[in-house]
Symmetry: C2
Subunit: 424 residues, 2 copies
């Protein structure tokens, strides 16, 4: 394989995670070790910024800034939800692709890395295929990233370990709070976490039990299992009868038996007649407080959970970084159209190897929590899940702290001179 | 002053904080150094448990457990919201007081410490007065505790520094996330924090700016200032125009111009005709998304913020502990009916002394954020507030971490033998 000489472009897409920047740091650092890669560019706001030729020169960043990316949440290059839609808008997609390859060619991009989840891997895959079709020599690698943990073929996704570490700590801490408030009246708290289709994030909070199933969370509702409202209310009732309190975790996408998201109950209308979409936790809280007359509070962690780098998993950050370096190494070996994946060698001691998967097998496939990892009543992950998830949260990322708060890196973002007319 | 020999009883009341147990650790540790104090008892679930004679022997706890209290959130002794209501239910209150003093006498309680906020200090004050009236020799001390920071006479309250440290870190992290998602469409996130009457908690998130007023939070809404909806929407609009994103922090108790809590808008009814009380953040999110057609997400930190010992302030924990030890020392010197308070000596370098305040001056007085510490537009704390709050979040409490999660202390709770008939 002849050495391919040219520039590297890396970009990020989709919802950020606590460690998506660690992957970028891996790409940049590894790329810096190889002479075949001349300039290292970042695309701002994913594909959208590349279409606009908004590139920055990552070679101009301070070494300390690149190191700082390893502990900085959010997507330092910016991200987007823009999707090149071949199926529904083939003409617009064709125009986008012409433009993308004009940008690649104008800037001599020979290595392209795209960090993201399902949609982003799909985009990376299509760019790879298009490069082959056009005979434009470029090596394209997807870099896995998603808190949702729903990519197929990989044991887990970088970003997942950190979100469940923070969420489990939060459930553990809220559990102590609610427990201490539990007097004879009883007390209930419903905590909403992310996860629209897959219950991986909700399931991860079971680690808060630290091995004692009597401890919170007492109920974990995952989108894979439609809510059985009567069984749920009965489990809250028996938990409160036994323990005087109950901590419920719900994935935001949990649906009722009719297949409707709990948080999008169209029967709840505001004064203007619009449906009130206040979320799954609020909906469950209303069910519990109405049916059991129980003081119930809600927590909705929202973006906090995927940005909580102050308590991110070092295991996760290390793997995110390694996926970035592995992608660069594979591209330099001549590979393209692949994504690094984590392959578990053993759980105890925990060991994962990095292998590669064809992007064709990743794109647009959603990996859900297996039914056999969930208790019979459907309201708690079981010991198989715990064995899987426990190693992923080990170790604490140490962001530098000044005056009591983490100091995170903001890139200088020195722009690369534009060579093309503005996108029309 | 003759030495008073007898037993000590300590209890906790009201909503827990990340450091309320540190105060208890201070009381227990200091009490162990003095021979006048024979047994050290804990009352379970505050006054309610004492009425039920539910006492535990803290002398039976392991030394490591008492040390563990310094880093454990929640109220390790349990808490209650039970209030002895002299004004409205004088007969029931009189019965409660007879019973309380029966319990004190039966267990030779000569030192009584009650950790809590406004209501709890009121209770401690009344117990002190009643002891004097009954000629029952007992030294009663309040121990300050509240995330709300609304106790008068003290510079700040133990519990406050930790909640704003965690909340500021969270706003900082969410800010990076939302910023990285901000493309041309713009993006907004509304974060709801605690604080029903006082805006101290909301105000504290200004520290996330780390000195740069262009950074999040861009808007902080405090209950002290009624919402000017038009001015608020305009500020979101101009922030998004300038920065492409906007992070709003709202105290849960913020009211509209009509004096109605945003989160309790009675015009929003569900299918059963009940008002939908989903909180201030949801209400603001609806306002923003409707009037500016802006993608808006919400976060409701709820109990997570007051239990987040994994990122608590060491300064706060140290002060909480010191308030406990100071209360014991003062009681041993013969004082009663007082509460330790923090008196600021200087902000830079930060130095606080502990003095004492008569409980009569604490009970039922609410201390709000001064108007002159808030910007002219009423939507941001100013530099005077920052100077006040910044030192309170310095230092990180280090809970021991095993397998990626903090290990918190659960007391053994060895019961003290009951000596009275059950409460009727």
């Amino acid at each position: 394989m002849a050495e391919l000489i040219g520039n590297l472009l890396v970009a990020q897409s989709g919802g950020p995670t606590s460690v998506i920047n660690a992957s970028i740091a891996g790409v940049i650092t590894e790329a810096g070790h190889h002479e075949g890669i001349e300039e290292i560019y970042g695309g701002l706001n994913g594909i959208l910024g590349i279409l606009n030729e908004d590139l920055i020169d990552l070679g101009d960043e301070k070494r300390s800034a690149i190191a700082g990316l390893k502990v900085t949440p959010g997507a330092a290059l910016g991200t987007c939800r823009y999707k090149i839609n071949f199926e529904k808008q083939p003409e617009a997609a064709a125009r986008d692709f012409d433009r993308l390859f004009q940008v690649f060619e104008a800037h001599q991009i020979r290595y392209f890395f795209y960090a993201g989840g399902n949609d982003s891997q799909d985009t990376a895959h299509k760019i790879h295929l298009e490069a082959v079709k056009r005979g434009y020599e470029m090596r394209v690698m997807g870099v896995p990233k998603t808190i949702d943990n729903d990519l197929p073929k990989t044991d887990h996704c970088p970003g997942y370990g950190s979100v469940i570490k923070y969420n489990a700590a939060t459930v553990l801490e809220i559990g102590l709070d609610v427990c201490s408030m539990a007097t004879d009246d009883g007390s209930c708290c419903v905590i909403e976490v992310m996860g629209r289709a897959a219950g991986w994030i909700a399931a991860g909070t079971v680690l808060a039990q630290q091995g004692d199933p009597a401890r919170p969370p007492h109920i974990v509702l995952m989108p894979e299992i439609p809510l059985d409202e009567a069984a749920f209310v009965e489990k809250v009732r028996t938990t409160v009868a036994a323990q005087k309190y109950c901590v419920v975790v719900v994935g935001e996408g949990v649906r009722n038996a009719a297949g409707q998201e709990l948080g999008a109950d169209k029967t709840r209308l505001d004064a203007f007649g619009h449906p009130v979409l206040s979320g799954a936790a609020e909906a469950l809280s209303e069910i519990v407080s109405r049916q059991l007359n129980l003081r119930t509070r809600t927590v909705k962690l929202g973006y906090a959970q995927r940005a909580a780098a102050h308590f991110a998993s070092q295991t996760d950050a290390d793997e995110a970084y390694s996926c970035g370096t592995a992608a660069v190494q594979a591209a330099l070996e001549g590979k393209s159209g692949l994504m690094p994946k984590l392959v578990r060698v053993s759980s105890n001691p925990y060991k994962c190897a990095i292998e590669f998967e064809d992007l064709a097998n990743i794109a647009n496939v959603e990996h859900l929590v297996p039914r056999e990892w969930i208790s019979e009543d459907g309201m708690m992950p079981n010991e198989k899940f715990v064995e899987y998830a426990a190693p992923l949260i080990v170790g604490e990322v140490k962001a530098p702290i000044v005056n009591g708060l983490p100091t995170y890196t903001v890139l200088g973002k020195s722009p690369v001179e534009k060579k093309l007319p503005a996108r029309t």
